[in-house]
């Protein structure tokens, strides 16, 4: 049954490649995509108690390739189909040229993501990482008028180098275990001498950390640089879903290498990434760059959730994957509408969004409240669980990260008010663009109010939010709002030095060198 989840998007892709210029065909594609979404809801409901397997080619043992739907991967498939449904509706009135190829590649990308989440075979994971990277680069440079090949090339080359580390690590795993199936490999590695696991662990983690844009690696520079040129839906998918595939890899390989998993190292790296990403986001002037750096920062926070080694932090990390996908997709889609309406992506020039587009403006505000963790919004629930029950030092760090996010969105929020006469290509957004934005914005609110119920439905964890602690954290949030506004108004606004730093970039050689240094340092630390 799981084969259909990978095959159906490819079939939609072929259908759209043949006839994407036809509106009726696009309607059919939306219907198919909705059916896939419904099927993945069913998948989530059946995988909650036990993993679901499909054996491709009917070899029910070590030799076969398996598709495995665990509770986490089923939820991620649900997320993938939902976000692709949203972007399909969003792009119903298509703006870029050559729609056929664009839609073909988009749905191939969806198939690659779903395959990556469902694959129970390590080598297939490598293949699908490569496919998704390649398709992402082509899609990101799809807009011929303002594409920048230099950044796309650096992105592709560095990713190719990083994935070779990953592949070499897989080679060592194969030599140690003689298997590529995740379940078998985990079983075998658990009984082996941990001393033998260090080299493959470090090699694989170098690749995975690079994909995750963690901080000692300079992978965020090419990644962020290709955002402004990417079409809106591609930017939304890159930030909302591709970042999640890397986090899924991180979780998977930390589980596979459980005997020697270096949780403390990744905890430190996650904290640094969270703070530094927020700092870089504050320095941006392009609306898409700001959101992209915010993704770097949020990835750090999710890594922290999975490295803290407590039950609550784990649940918080899982829920933060969902909430980040929701509000970041909403923010990117809103940003696309705003850029089309104003004809510029400069945060200093866009003013008065609320007056010009009240509905889109409200949806954007909902998403912003979600990301900064306002009470009763989706981000507050996941952040509550990540930092619940840890010692006060973690609490202080969480406030520092929230403060960074707050300052960048104080800067972002300036676009809602004021007055501007700039006119872009379409001042009034189409209904098909507004509808998905409003629905995802609404989910940012519902996911906060019904947080515990949603966590129970998705992950089968029974969790309780203590009213007093939540109140206490809400008070901290209000304090953070005040301090954030103060820092922005007094310290950052109008200082040109920050924008200079925000434009800093690194060369291909530096990025490769950072990979080597990361590998060496990890080896020393693990030994």
């Amino acid at each position: 049954m799981l084969t259909f989840f990978v095959v159906v998007p490819v079939l939609i892709a072929v259908l759209l490649f043949a006839l994407a210029t036809n509106r009726v065909v696009r309607m059919i594609a939306i219907v198919f995509q909705s059916a896939l979404f419904a099927a993945s809801v069913y998948l989530v409901s059946i995988t909650r108690d036990a993993d679901f397997y499909t054996f491709v080619g009917s070899y029910e043992n070590l030799l076969g390739i398996t598709l495995r739907a665990s509770s986490l991967s089923a939820v991620l498939v649900l997320l993938t189909t939902f976000i692709f449904l949203a972007v399909t509706v969003y792009s119903f009135v298509y703006e870029e040229q050559d729609a056929r190829m664009f839609w073909f590649l988009m749905f191939v990308l969806e198939a690659a993501f779903i395959g990556l989440f469902l694959s129970g075979d390590l080598f297939n994971i490598f293949v699908l990482i490569e496919v998704s990277t390649l398709v992402t680069v082509i899609l990101a440079m799809y807009d011929r008028k303002n594409r920048n090949i230099f950044h796309g090339k650096v992105f592709l080359m560095t990713n190719l180098v990083s994935v070779q580390f990953f592949l070499l690590g897989l080679g060592y795993v194969y030599r140690l275990t003689g298997a590529m199936d995740i379940t078998r490999v985990t079983e075998s590695l658990a009984v082996l001498d941990p001393a033998n696991l260090r080299l493959p662990y470090v090699l694989i983690m170098t690749g995975v950390a690079f994909k995750n844009t963690l901080i000692p690696l300079f992978s965020w520079t090419p990644k962020v640089r290709i955002y402004p040129q990417a079409p809106t839906v591609v930017a939304a998918v890159m930030s909302g879903l591709q970042a999640k595939t890397s986090i899924y890899l991180f979780i998977t390989f930390q589980d596979v290498f459980e005997p020697i998993a270096a949780h403390e190292i990744f905890l430190a790296i996650g904290i640094v990434t969270g703070v530094f990403g927020a700092y870089m986001a504050i320095c941006q002037t392009n609306i898409k760059n700001l959101l992209a750096y915010s993704t770097v920062s949020q990835t750090g926070m999710i890594i922290v959730g999975f490295s803290l080694q407590t039950q609550y932090a784990h649940i918080g990390g899982l829920y933060h994957i969902i909430s980040h996908a929701m509000f970041k997709t909403a923010l990117f889609l809103c940003a696309g509408i705003i850029i089309r309406s104003y004809g510029t992506a400069d945060l200093h020039k866009i003013r008065g969004v609320l007056r010009r587009m009240p509905v889109v403006g409200t949806a954007t505000i909902t998403a912003v409240l979600g990301i900064v963790g306002a009470p009763f919004f989706i981000g507050s629930v996941s952040k509550y669980f990540i930092f619940e029950g840890n010692h006060p030092g973690m609490m202080a760090l969480s406030i520092l990260m929230s403060l960074g996010t707050m300052v960048m969105f104080v800067k972002f929020s300036k676009i809602f008010f004021g007055q501007s006469d700039l006119q872009g290509i379409s001042p009034v957004p189409e209904v098909t663009k507004v509808l998905p934005v409003v629905i995802i914005g609404g989910l940012c609110f519902l996911g906060g109010v019904l947080g515990t119920q949603l966590i129970y439905f998705l992950f089968r964890y029974v969790v309780v939010i203590h009213a007093w602690t939540y109140m206490y954290k809400s008070l901290i949030f209000i304090a953070v709002v005040g301090v954030g506004c103060l820092i922005y108004e007094k310290g950052i606004k109008g200082r040109i030095i920050f924008e200079r730093m925000g434009a800093a970039t690194t060369s291909f050689k530096m990025i490769c060198a950072s990979m080597g240094v990361f590998l060496a340092v990890m080896l020393v630390l693990v030994f």
């Binding site: 490569e130 190719l160 070779q164 080679g171 030599r175 060369s507 490769c512």
Partner: protein
């Protein structure tokens, strides 16, 4: 020399090639050289994978054996799985390298240089 090239040393050769080409990636100024080093980098990983297929003492070969006496002799055959997987890795690498070379073609035609440092300046990345 012949002893050095013995299959037992191949794994070490693969790892040596891995780090030599990685050193090349860090140091080369020219984009074409970077691409050549990336290809070497991939080749070294592929070489490592091929050496994994060795089961017995013999050189890694596909398990196609005509002599029925040798059929159950594990030292004469190789594990076919790494060979199949390597083939996939080579094909993917080929596709990605093809796209990278196409991009390089566009860039060098636009700017007239394949030097990383000059390209950074021309693309407005550094002042």
């Amino acid at each position: 020399m012949a002893a050095l090239l013995h299959y037992e040393n191949m794994e070490i050769f693969a790892l040596a090639l891995f780090f030599i080409s990685f050193f090349g990636l860090i140091t080369s100024r020219n984009m074409i050289k970077s691409i050549i080093y990336i290809m070497l980098f991939q080749t070294s990983v592929v070489m490592f994978w091929l050496m994994l297929g060795r089961v017995g003492e013999a050189l890694p070969m596909p398990p196609i054996i005509n002599d029925p006496e040798l059929l159950y002799d594990m030292s004469a055959i190789a594990d076919p799985l790494p060979q199949a997987l390597t083939l996939t890795a080579i094909i993917i690498g080929f596709a990605v390298i093809a796209i990278i070379i196409t991009m390089m073609n566009v860039l060098t035609r636009k700017h007239g240089t394949a030097d990383w440092n000059k390209l950074m300046v021309l693309e407005g990345q550094v002042e």
